[in-house]
Symmetry: C2
DNA sequence: TCCCTCTGAGAAAACCTTTTCCCAAATCGC
DNA sequence: GCGATTTGGGAAAAGGTTTTCTCAGAGGGA
C-alpha cells in the first residue's frame, strides 16, 4: 500500500495501536511501550527501531487507555453560567491557554442557571474522570447552582462565588476603583462623581467604598454614588441628575469627573455630556469599568477604563488547578487579582504628560 | 461508616467500581453489568438487588472504560478561532445544547489563527478519541488553519469556510438582507441606501447582491453600497457621504432608509442622523445586521436588526454531527439557514400596523 | 569450569466495563 | 423417569496501555 519510506504518516482511518507497532518492530508490546516512553533497558538499536516504526505508522497512544490506567485524564471541566456574556470569553480563553500548554483539554459546560443542567454536567465530568473543575460565572457574588465541594477532585473558582473553604480568584474591584479615582486626583480633578450599577451587586459596594476612601484620603468632597441599571440609558439619566440637580456636595458646583461602574454607563454619560455641550475630557473627565474594548474604543472620545485582566485571571485559575491536580497543597481563600487602568482620551492628559 | 439506609449516595472520594457493587451484591461483575444495563436474564429479585446496591453505593460507570470498549467516547471537539468575538458564543451555546441532551460532552479548543496550536488541539482530540469535530469561526469566508478532511472522524463546519466535500452550516446572508430591504419596501421607503463592511468579506457581497436584487424587483433606484470598516465611526462617515454628497441616484434626493451591514455601523448611522437633526425612524429608517442585542437595545431608538439565528445554527451543526457519528449518511454541501428580522423601532411602523 | 551478576526483553497484571460464550440446574413434554 | 429445552448466572476475552516481575543468556571473576 503505502511506500515504506513514507516521511509523513498516513492519517489512518483506524488509529494504529501499540500492538501493531510492536508486531512490525518484532518486539512485545511491553518493550514497545518502554521504548517510546524512554523507560526500561534495551539496546539503543532496538529503541530507535521501535521509535522509527511508530513514527512511520503514525502511532499515537490512546489517551483513553492511558487515562484508565493512570487514573488521570488530562482533562478538566469548565463550568460557566455566562453563555452570552462578555466576561466569560476572556476568562475561558485564559483558562484554556494555561491548560493547553500542559496538554490538558477543557470540557465546556454551559449550565445557565439551571441546577438540573449543572448537576447533569458535573456528573458527566465525574464519569469522564476529569482531573478537576473550574467554575466561572458572570457575577462575583453569585453561586453556581451546584455544589462542587465534595466531589473528590479539586475545584477552583474564577469570577464567581466560591464554596467555603475553596480557592477562588476574583478581580480586585476596590483596587480597580482606586486606580480610577486616584488617576482623576492626579489629573487635578476635584469634584469626582460616581455612577454605578444596582445595589444588589457586591462589586458596586466594593467600588463605592474605594471611591469614598480615595476621596477622603485626598480631602475631596464625596457625593453619594448614583446607583441604577448597568445601561447606557442610566448613564444619560445620571447626567441629568448630576448636572440639573442640587450640584456637588450641597454647593452649586457641578462635577468635573465621573467614575462609572461599567463602560455602558460611561458611554451613556459621555453621549449625554456631548449632547449638553459639555466637553469631554476638557470640562468633565470620564472613566469606565470593564474595558470592553469594542465599546471603549467606539465612544467619542475613546474611553479610559479599568480592565479586570480576566484573561490573566483565567490563566491563574488554570495554573492553580493544575498544581492542585499535581497534588501540591494550597491554602483555601479568595485571591484578588489587580486590575489595570487603560488610559485613552476621556479622562484628560496628565498635567506633566 | 455511612448508615446503611442512606438515601443519597455519599460522593466517594474514590469512585466505586462495578466490581465493588458485584461483590456487595454477591454476584459476578458480568451479572452486575447486565443487571444495570437491562441486559441478560436473571431473576427480578437479583436485578433489583444489584440495582439497589449500585444506587446505595452511588455507582457510576467509568466512561473511560466504556469508551475504550465501545470505541465511542461521547465527546466531540469544538474548534474556534473567535475567542473574543460575539459570534461564537451563541454558536457554541447552540452546539453545546444540542449535544448535552445526547449525553455528549464538548472539548473547547481555542485555536486563534495559529496553525501550530490548531494542530496541537486536533491531535489531542484524536488521542482522546473524540467522536467528531465541529469547526466554527468568526468569518464565513475563512478557513480554520488546519485540515479536518482525512481524520477518520466526521467533521461539521459552522459559520466558517468548509473543506471541499464537507458539510457546513452558514447563515443565509442574502436572505437576511432580503428580509431587511423588503421590510423597508413594505413600509413605503423608496430611497434605500446600503452601508456595509469591507469588500474583503464575502458576506458584504452576498448582502449587497440581495440589496440590489430586491430594489430592482421593486423598481426602486439602487445606490452603490458604501463599503468601509465594521465600526461606528464608519457609520458616522457614511451619513456624511449620504447626506452631504450628490444625493440619491444622481438626483438631489436623500435616502429615506439605510440598511447597514452590522449593528455597530447602524449605531453610528443613527447617532449621526440624530446629530444632524434627522428623525429616526420618521425621516429615515435604519436596519442593522447581527442583532447584537446589547447594542441594538441601547441605540435610540432601539435598532431593528437581522438576526442570523446563530444558536439555532449551532444546534443544527451539533445534530448533524450526531447523526454523522451515528453512521447515518449525509450529502456534503453548504446548508444556508434562514435569518430573521427582529423589528424594534428604528425602521418605522408598518402602514397598517 | 562454575557461580554470580548484569543485561535485554517478554509475560502478565492492572485499569474498568461490556459481551459472548458456556455450564449447571431446573423445568417441561411425554 | 428420561431426554430436551429453558433459566440464571459466571468465566473470560476484549479494548490499549503501563508497569512490575520474571527469565534466559551473556559476561566476568575465581
Amino acid at each position: 500500500m503505502a511506500s515504506d519510506a513514507q516521511p509523513t504518516p498516513v492519517s489512518a482511518k483506524q488509529p494504529v495501536t501499540l500492538r501493531e507497532v510492536a508486531a512490525l518492530a518484532g518486539v512485545s508490546v511491553a518493550t514497545a511501550s518502554k521504548a517510546l516512553n524512554g523507560q526500561g533497558r534495551m539496546t539503543a538499536e532496538t529503541r530507535t527501531r521501535i521509535r522509527e516504526t511508530a513514527q512511520r505508522l503514525g502511532f499515537r497512544p490512546n489517551s483513553l487507555a492511558q487515562s484508565l490506567l493512570r487514573r488521570r485524564s488530562f482533562t478538566v471541566g469548565l463550568l460557566t453560567n455566562d453563555t452570552y456574556g462578555r466576561f466569560s470569553l476572556p476568562l475561558m480563553a485564559g483558562v484554556s491557554d494555561a491548560l493547553v500548554d500542559a496538554g490538558v483539554s477543557v470540557f465546556l459546560c454551559n449550565v445557565e442557571d439551571d441546577p438540573r443542567l449543572a448537576q447533569l454536567h458535573v456528573d458527566a465530568m465525574l464519569d469522564k474522570r476529569v482531573d478537576g473543575i473550574i467554575a466561572t460565572g458572570k457575577r462575583i457574588d453569585r453561586h453556581l447552582p451546584v455544589d462542587l465541594a465534595n466531589l473528590g477532585i479539586p475545584a477552583i473558582y474564577a469570577f464567581t462565588q466560591p464554596d467555603p473553604g475553596a480557592i477562588a480568584f476574583v478581580s480586585d474591584d476596590a483596587g480597580g476603583a482606586r486606580l480610577a479615582v486616584e488617576h482623576f486626583c492626579r489629573l487635578g480633578r476635584r469634584r469626582i462623581a460616581h455612577v454605578s450599577g444596582p445595589a444588589s451587586f457586591a462589586v458596586v459596594h466594593a467600588r463605592a467604598e474605594a471611591y469614598r476612601a480615595v476621596l477622603a484620603e485626598n480631602g475631596l468632597p464625596v457625593m453619594e454614588p448614583l446607583l441604577g441599571p448597568w445601561s447606557e440609558a442610566w448613564g444619560h439619566e445620571a447626567v441629568a441628575k448630576l448636572f440639573d440637580g442640587e450640584g456637588f456636595d450641597g454647593t452649586r458646583e457641578k462635577p468635573d469627573a465621573v467614575f462609572c461602574g461599567n463602560d455602558q454607563i460611561a458611554r451613556g454619560v459621555i453621549d449625554a455630556l456631548r449632547e449638553r455641550g459639555i466637553g469631554v475630557p476638557d470640562e468633565v473627565g470620564v472613566i469606565g469599568f470593564d474595558n470592553w474594548q469594542i465599546v471603549a474604543e467606539a465612544t467619542r472620545p475613546p474611553l479610559t477604563s479599568v480592565d479586570m485582566n480576566l484573561a490573566a485571571l483565567g490563566r491563574e485559575a488554570g495554573l492553580a488547578l493544575l498544581s492542585l491536580v499535581g497534588g501540591e497543597p494550597a491554602l483555601p481563600g479568595i485571591r484578588k487579582l489587580p486590575c489595570r487602568l487603560v488610559v485613552r482620551q476621556s479622562c484628560g492628559r496628565p498635567p506633566d504628560g
